[in-house]
């Protein structure tokens, strides 16, 4: 029982990331009809928003101070510490959550630029060309990041006071061994609230209603005289923000490097396909489902029965789903079937 709860918990934070990325992919696909292979890059850019923000906060004044060695050595003092003392250090400690604030406008700008500059011109082109051009863009974006930040993962820890683990087992009355890192719990709650925000936005505002109608039947909505184009641009930006936020908060779990986006992209596409192309709830459900499945597959008990299952479980599920239920778990019929 303990082990099962633990595995479910372990799958949930990863599942949250999958769900957030897959949600954006589905939104873009459902409204704009574009297959965005650069979506993983948006996740990666979000993570590097956090990295850059942290870099910005930790800009330091370099001074030479005399030392016992008999010659002066360089000493770095963070400007924030110098100016604000302990408060400054706390701000630095909270770099990751604070990065959310700057990542939102940054991701909006990136999203707008991508949609206006590139994706818009590919609405009417074949899906293969959309895949190819966004794939090219993803390469460009990740190489730019590599040129700036280098190829190595950059550790970006969570704030000190949530660095430990939550003893969830005790809360649930399950014993000592069900512990779960605080930050991953926070990530899970964070992703759930972002998901809730996006869904209620789409559900309860007229703006969202039009978007959902557009996902059902683009031409009709266009005929109603609504400027669907403008809304689509905003949808793209929204999806970019969601992916970016997923990336920002993921940095303490996985030190970001330039190709993390590609890895998540491949998995997120699988998630979208499993959930059902064009279905938002499907994307979310499949995201969590696959995250949990993945964590179960990596249990030793499972691995001893099916060696290597942890490596392929997600793909295997995708293959099976596509073959027996081509439209995915919650997908509509006939989407993208040609």
């Amino acid at each position: 029982m303990d082990a099962i709860v633990l595995q479910i918990l372990n799958g949930l934070d990863k599942g949250g990331a999958y769900a957030l990325i897959a949600l954006g992919l589905t939104l873009i696909f459902g409204t704009l009809g574009v297959v965005n292979f650069a979506h993983g890059a948006l996740f990666m850019l979000g993570a590097f928003c956090a990295v850059s923000f942290k870099k910005l906060l930790t800009l330091a004044e370099v001074t030479k101070v005399p030392s016992d060695l008999g010659f002066p050595v360089t000493k770095e003092v963070f400007y924030l510490e110098k100016w604000f003392g302990q408060t400054g250090l706390t701000i630095i400690d909270f770099a990751v959550p604070l990065a959310i604030l700057i990542s939102i406008p940054v991701m909006i700008l990136i999203g707008l630029a991508m949609e206006r500059g590139l994706v818009r011109h590919f609405y009417k082109r074949p899906h293969a060309e959309q895949i190819l051009v966004t794939f090219g863009l993803a390469i460009v974006l990740q190489e730019i990041i590599k040129a700036i930040f280098g190829a190595n993962p950059i550790p970006t820890p969570a704030p000190q006071f949530v660095s430990g683990s939550a003893n969830i087992g005790e809360w649930l009355g399950l014993g000592q061994f069900v512990v779960y890192p605080w930050w991953r719990l926070i990530y899970l709650l964070f992703s759930l609230s972002v998901l809730a925000a996006v869904f209620s936005f789409l559900r309860f505002t007229t703006w969202g209603m039009v978007v959902r109608a557009g996902m059902q039947d683009r031409e009709t909505v266009g005929l109603l005289g609504i400027n669907i184009q403008k809304r689509f641009t905003i949808v793209f930006a929204l999806a970019a923000v969601v992916a970016g936020l997923a990336g920002v908060m993921y940095t303490p779990i996985l030190p970001p490097d330039y190709h993390m986006g590609m890895e998540f992209l491949v998995l997120s596409f699988v998630v979208v396909v499993v959930g059902g192309m064009g279905s938002l709830p499907g994307a979310v459900a499949a995201g969590f489902l696959l995250g949990i499945l993945q964590s179960f597959a990596s249990m030793n008990e499972v691995k001893s029965i099916f060696p290597g299952i942890d490596q392929i479980i997600i793909y295997l599920v995708a293959v099976i789903i596509l073959l027996v239920r081509p439209r995915g778990l919650l997908g509509r019929k006939g989407v993208m079937e040609t």
Binding site: V35, L118, H121, R125, H127, A128, E129, I131, L132, V133, F135, G136, L137, A138, I139, V140, E143, I144, K146, A147, A151, M262, V266, F269, V270, V273, M277, P307, G308, Q311, I312, Y315, L316, A318, V319, L322, L323, P326, M336, E337, T338
Partner: protein
């Protein structure tokens, strides 16, 4: 001229001369050394094969590197168990990759469009992940599979051929390294090109193009499209297997990274860059990408400073500063940018570009009448 090029043997002869003479005409371009030439030929084969699937039927596979990898492993196993001779290795690789492609193709082709792409991607990723984990006894995991002195090599043993000194693959005594290796790869490329040409100009090739154009109509016209697509898939898988075998033959080491999806992406780039669906485009794309990968990644800050040392210093700094992110380590950035530009402005690839240029010249010289004849799309519509 156009009629002349319709003759298979003429085209083949021109292609063979161009390929075999590569060591000569690529010398001034700084690419006349065997290692790179081998890669031109090998990735040319890979791309030509990929084009039979993607260029003709329009099915975009994102998992073709799996077949390349399987071909490599099969070849190294042949070197280990059978013989250091490349002939059995090549044959085994083609057969194994073909069978593997038949199984995967059979499953993936039950879907089309992006679902097909995702399925192929999923299978390739599974192969890659498994090669690194549970299949380690076959693939030797991260270390990669290599030829050892202690390997049995049954055929060599029976024939009394014993590997002396370093273990190198050979073709009846001719070592497969250096120029002889290149000529072997080139011969394979020419044979592969010949078959690809025959396929494209056969009724079968016509059916594949028709599937790309309108699969529905194909069904209502009485064709069972799935075996056609599967045949194309298997053939292209066999080409990939051959390419993998040659990679192993010129350097007897097989690693799982060859199967990663970025490697699958690379062959897509090659095919698109050169021109999907054209005869020589994929080879051209493969050559260009491998050439610039080699040239660009060799450049570093120093080399750049040297190259632009004729400029005044301040200008040199600016030029070098602008260019340096695109070369050396940043070569993939250049590749990404070029690739995007191609997809945006020239979806037909470089071959389409050449055609447009050619049309520009013919129309410039001969007036508008000639232009219509040169382009079927511009022909006047039949009078109603």
């Amino acid at each position: 001229m156009a009629k002349f090029l319709r003759n298979d043997l003429v085209v083949l002869a021109i292609f063979a001369v161009v390929v075999l003479a590569m060591p000569i005409w690529l010398q001034p371009l700084g690419a006349g050394y065997p290692d790179l030439l081998q890669r031109f030929a090998i990735y040319g084969i890979f791309a030509i094969g990929f084009n039979i699937l993607f260029g003709l039927t329009g099915y975009l596979s994102f998992g073709h590197a799996a077949f390349l990898g399987v071909g490599s492993y099969a070849a190294v196993w042949s070197f280990k168990l059978l013989s250091l001779n490349v002939i059995p290795a090549v044959m085994l690789s083609i057969v194994v990759a073909g069978l593997f492609a038949a199984v995967i193709g059979f499953i993936c082709l039950r879907r089309s469009g992006i679902y097909f792409s995702i399925l192929t991607l999923a299978f390739a990723q599974m192969s890659y992940n498994l090669a690194y984990s549970v299949l380690t006894p076959i693939t030797n995991g991260e270390t990669g599979l290599r030829v050892l002195r202690a390997d049995p090599r049954v055929i060599d043993g029976m024939l009394g051929v014993d590997a002396k000194g370093v273990l190198v693959t050979d073709l009846f005594g001719i070592s497969m390294s250096g120029y002889s290796g290149f000529y072997f790869c080139a011969a394979m490329l020419i044979i592969g090109f010949f078959f690809a040409m025959r396929i494209m100009r056969s009724p079968f090739g016509m059916m594949l193009k028709a599937i790309k154009s309108n699969q529905n109509r194909m069904s209502y016209t009485g064709f069972n499209t799935r075996p056609y697509a599967l045949a194309a898939f298997v053939i292209s898988g066999m080409y990939a297997g051959l390419a993998g075998a040659l990679l192993a033959a010129t350097d007897p080491l097989a690693g799982a990274e060859r199967m990663q999806w970025t490697a699958s992406g690379e062959v897509v780039l090659m095919t698109i860059l050169g021109g999907a669906g054209t005869l020589v485009g994929p080879f051209l794309g493969a050559g260009i990408i491998k050439y610039f990968e080699n040239i660009f990644s060799a450049f570093n800050q120093q080399a750049l400073n040297q190259a632009f040392s004729f400029l005044p210093e301040w200008l040199q700094d600016i030029v070098v500063g602008v260019i340096s992110p695109f070369v050396g380590e940043g070569w993939h950035l250049t590749l990404g940018v070029v690739f995007m530009l191609i997809v945006i402005f020239l979806p037909g690839g470089l071959m389409e570009g050449f055609r447009r240029l050619g049309r520009l010249f013919t129309s410039g010289g001969n007036g508008p009448d000639r232009r219509k004849a040169a382009s079927p799309a511009a022909q006047p519509q039949a009078a109603e």
